[in-house]
Structures are given as structure tokens and as C-alpha cells.
């Protein structure tokens, strides 16, 4: 049976993993390759790296880091941040990443999704989106897409954007709730559910994970396929095993490697 994935997210800033709330107050957490190895050994199903300062500094993604991660770990990983064209995507994929993630770039230029899917296959192209609860009448779902680290409101409806992106060839959609991000109060299930029901591609819940029980909750109450974890494991407070044990206990299909005797 296909299992639900748990995906640690590592925000990389100047070559170090950092974590901040709503992109503010970043604290240093460690070396990306060492953390990738530890999470891979600890049972992560996949990893995602965001080079969070690449776009703001108008520089391409740190390919050296992508190569070092690819050399160190044997599970799939996605890379986002600092992607501005198909050639950037190609560099990341050739360096050994399984997927590239686009967010603000795709809002500005939706055609990049189709170009990337045509060049590398839809399974390589992840759309990241940052929806926020909104009373904007242009957004009938009640959620509006923000960009540039939640700074800009686009007037785009989150569910409509997800459908359009999937039609263009996005192979997976990461729904990162602005409202839940950094709160550790649990995933924002309403928008996750709406998008998981609206599109035919896998959906990843993101933002708000604070304790292991939040994972079985989002997998049972929405049709999402994977969920992102960050602060609660970066701090050392919880482990991936604890998350997976909670999923198993709740009857969610999960990959736990059988130990051989």
C-alpha cells in the first residue's frame, strides 16, 4: 500500500539551515548535509530544501549544496528558491535533486510550470503556494495566494491557482498555509482538504506541525499525500520516528522499516 510521506523541510540561508517564524527571526540550526543525513537515517521519506535568500539576493541556487546532499543521501529531495528559468531547473536536477519547487516565479510566469514539465516530466515539478485566509471577493475559496515570503497579496484564488497549476503540469502541490506557518498549532486542514479534492496530483500539507498527533490528524481529515515537518524536529523536541509511530497508531499507512534479526 502506498504510504503517506513525512517530509522534513530545511530552509537554507547562506549555506546554513535556519528556522524563523513567518520568515522572520531566523536562528541557525546546522549544516544542511549533516541534517539531511540525520533525517534520512531517521526515517524521512523525502526532503525539501529552500534556498530562502537566493531570490532576494538575485543569485542562483547554491548548486554545490545540492551536489553535496545528492552525494550524501539516498532518498528523493526537492529544491526550491532561486529558480528563475528552465536552465536553473536543469542544473538542480542534474546535480541530483529529484524535484524542483517553484512558487513566486510560477505566479509571475505560469508558463514555467509547463516548460519544466515538458523538459523533465511533471513528477519533477512541484508548485509551492502560500495561501492566506482572505475576504477578497476575487477569491471565492476564501484563500488568497501570497508571494515573496507572504509579503505580496496577488488577488489569486488558492483553489483556482492549484487547478491551473496541475493542468499546466505541476506534478505535486505544496500547500503552505500562511495562517498556520510557525504556530505549531497543527496543519490548516480546510485549505489542504479543498485543494486535495480539487486536483488529481499529490498534495503536501505544510505549516503548523507542532506535535506528532498533528500528522495522523491531517492525513485522516484531508486527502493529502504527504506533510512537511520543520521546527518541531529541528529543535530536537520530537523525532521522525515519533511522528511515524503516531501515524501507525492511528491506522495511517506509513513506511517504518522492519528491523532484521
Amino acid at each position: 500500500m502506498l504510504t503517506k510521506r513525512v517530509i522534513p523541510c530545511l530552509d537554507v540561508r547562506k549555506g546554513r539551515v535556519t528556522k524563523g517564524v513567518k520568515f522572520q527571526n531566523n536562528v541557525d540550526l546546522g549544516d544542511p548535509v549533516e541534517m539531511a543525513l540525520a533525517y534520512s537515517d531517521g526515517g524521512a521519506d523525502e526532503l525539501v530544501f529552500y534556498d530562502i535568500t537566493a531570490s532576494a539576493e538575485h543569485r542562483p541556487i547554491d548548486i554545490g549544496m545540492v551536489e553535496a546532499v545528492a552525494k550524501a543521501i539516498r532518498i528523493p529531495f526537492a529544491v526550491g528558491g532561486g529558480i528563475s528559468c528552465v536552465a536553473d531547473m536543469e542544473r538542480v536536477i542534474l546535480a541530483g535533486a529529484e524535484k524542483v519547487s517553484v512558487n513566486s516565479l510560477a505566479v509571475r510566469n505560469p508558463g514555467i510550470i509547463a516548460e519544466g514539465a515538458k523538459a523533465f516530466g511533471a513528477q519533477c515539478i512541484v508548485l509551492g503556494m502560500d495561501p492566506v485566509k482572505s475576504g477578497n471577493p476575487a477569491c471565492p475559496s476564501g484563500y488568497e495566494i501570497t508571494t515573496r515570503g507572504f509579503r505580496d497579496f496577488t488577488g489569486m484564488d488558492a483553489v483556482e491557482w492549484a487547478k491551473m497549476a496541475a493542468d499546466l503540469g505541476a506534478g505535486e502541490i505544496v500547500v503552505n498555509s500562511v495562517d498556520a506557518d510557525g504556530t505549531r498549532a497543527g496543519f490548516e486542514k480546510q485549505i489542504t482538504r479543498m485543494i486535495a479534492e480539487a486536483v488529481g496530483v499529490p498534495v503536501v500539507a505544510s505549516g503548523g506541525a507542532g506535535k506528532p498527533e498533528h500528522f495522523p490528524e491531517v492525513f485522516k481529515e484531508t486527502n493529502c499525500d504527504a506533510a512537511i515537518v520543520a521546527g518541531m524536529i529541528h529543535s530536537g523536541e520530537y523525532s521522525i520516528s515519533q511522528i511515524k509511530e503516531a501515524m501507525l497508531a492511528a491506522g495511517v499507512s506509513v513506511r517504518i522499516r522492519r528491523t532484521r534479526t
Binding site: L2, T3, A70, P76, I93, Q123, R257
Partner: protein, 198 residues
């Protein structure tokens, strides 16, 4: 020498790095000569079957691969497994290498299952009783098409209400639908076991 066949069907970095992690330097190549001289062949691939078959023809690799598959250890991965069969219904129907009898079909859209299947799924023993190493583990899958079960099916997996061939073995051919190179410790053990057997 282990030859990883490069025929323009996807990125081979992960496959090469997985062998390197086992201390085994494999050569990524499109050369008939390398395929003839290799001790073992790794035949990966992601993407579309039609362009993959066209590339094999264009590069003049079809005969060399067929010959190699009959003579030396041959590991097919993902699309590299699918095009070992007779035919796939992808791209309106494409004749494949015909090294293993059987057909490749698209997952049914009905039933609310997402296509492609992306993620970790388990592989278990096939009814054929054709036992191979690596059964009973989770591996990483990414695919929209699947090989029907047949006499050489050695491992099966379920998705979208279909039980399909996830490992096939026939003579020196060992092929898997999943990506051992991206399947963590279980995948590395599978590759290590294959290297040790051949």
C-alpha cells in the same frame, strides 16, 4: 566494468551516485562498445516510452542491449524495466524490446487514486513463487504505467486497485519498477545484493 546505459531517458546522477556509495564506480555510457565490453548492464530510465525507444534506435543500441541481456547480468529500473516487455499502451501504443513477455498499461483513472503513483510502497512475493532478494521492503515509486503480472513476475505491489509487477526476473535480467537508487537503505541493499550475485 558496470555500464549505466545513457539513452536520453532522464537523469542518471542518482543511479551513478548510488553505486558510488557502494564503492563501485560505474560508467555512464551510450557506446555500443562499452555495452559489449561491460561485465554487467544497468538500464535505468524515466520519461516517455516512445521517445525512449526512438532514442535507442537512433543511438543504435537495440541489438547490443538485446544481446547483452541474454549474456550478462542486466538490471532494469523504472522505464528501463517497462521497455523490456513486448509492448506498452503509452503514447498510443509502442513496441518495446520484447525481452520479457508481457504488456505495460496505464493505471485506471477511476477510484480516486492519483496518477502518477508517487511515494513509498511495499513489494511482496508474487504468486509465481519466483523468489528474489529484496521482498518485504518499501521502495520509492514514480510512475503512471505498470507491467501486468506474468510468468516472470517475482515481486508485486498494489496501487489504484491493481496488483502489478514491481520486480521481474528472467535469466540474467533483474528489473524493478521502483527506484532502488532513491529507496534509502533498502534500495542500497538491493543494489549491493545484485552486485554481489553477478
Amino acid at each position: 566494468m558496470t555500464a549505466i546505459v545513457d539513452y536520453g531517458a532522464g537523469n542518471l546522477t542518482s543511479v551513478r551516485l548510488a553505486f558510488a556509495a557502494l564503492g563501485h564506480e560505474a560508467r555512464v555510457t551510450s557506446s555500443v562498445n562499452d555495452i559489449e565490453e561491460a561485465d554487467r548492464i544497468v538500464f535505468p530510465g524515466v520519461g516517455a516510452a516512445k521517445s525512449a525507444m526512438e532514442n535507442l534506435v537512433r543511438l543504435g543500441l537495440v541489438d547490443a542491449l538485446k544481446k547483452a541481456a541474454g549474456e550478462k547480468p542486466f538490471l532494469g529500473i523504472c522505464l528501463g524495466m517497462q521497455i523490456l516487455f513486448d509492448r506498452t499502451e503509452e503514447d498510443g501504443g509502442v513496441d518495446c524490446l520484447g525481452l520479457v513477455p508481457g504488456r505495460v498499461r496505464r493505471f485506471p483513472a477511476a477510484g480516486g487514486c492519483k496518477i502518477p503513483q508517487i511515494g513509498w510502497n511495499d513489494v511482496h512475493e508474487a504468486a509465481s513463487g519466483n523468489r528474489v532478494p529484496g521482498l518485504g521492503e518499501y521502495y520509492y515509486f514514480v510512475h503512471s504505467y505498470y507491467a501486468e503480472k506474468g510468468p516472470y513476475t517475482a515481486g508485486v505491489t498494489e496501487y489504484a486497485s491493481v496488483e502489478f509487477t514491481s520486480i521481474v526476473q528472467k535469466g540474467g535480467i533483474f528489473a524493478c519498477q521502483f527506484h532502488p537508487e532513491k529507496s534509502g537503505a533498502a534500495g542500497l541493499e538491493l543494489l549491493k545484493g545484485w552486485l554481489e550475485r553477478c
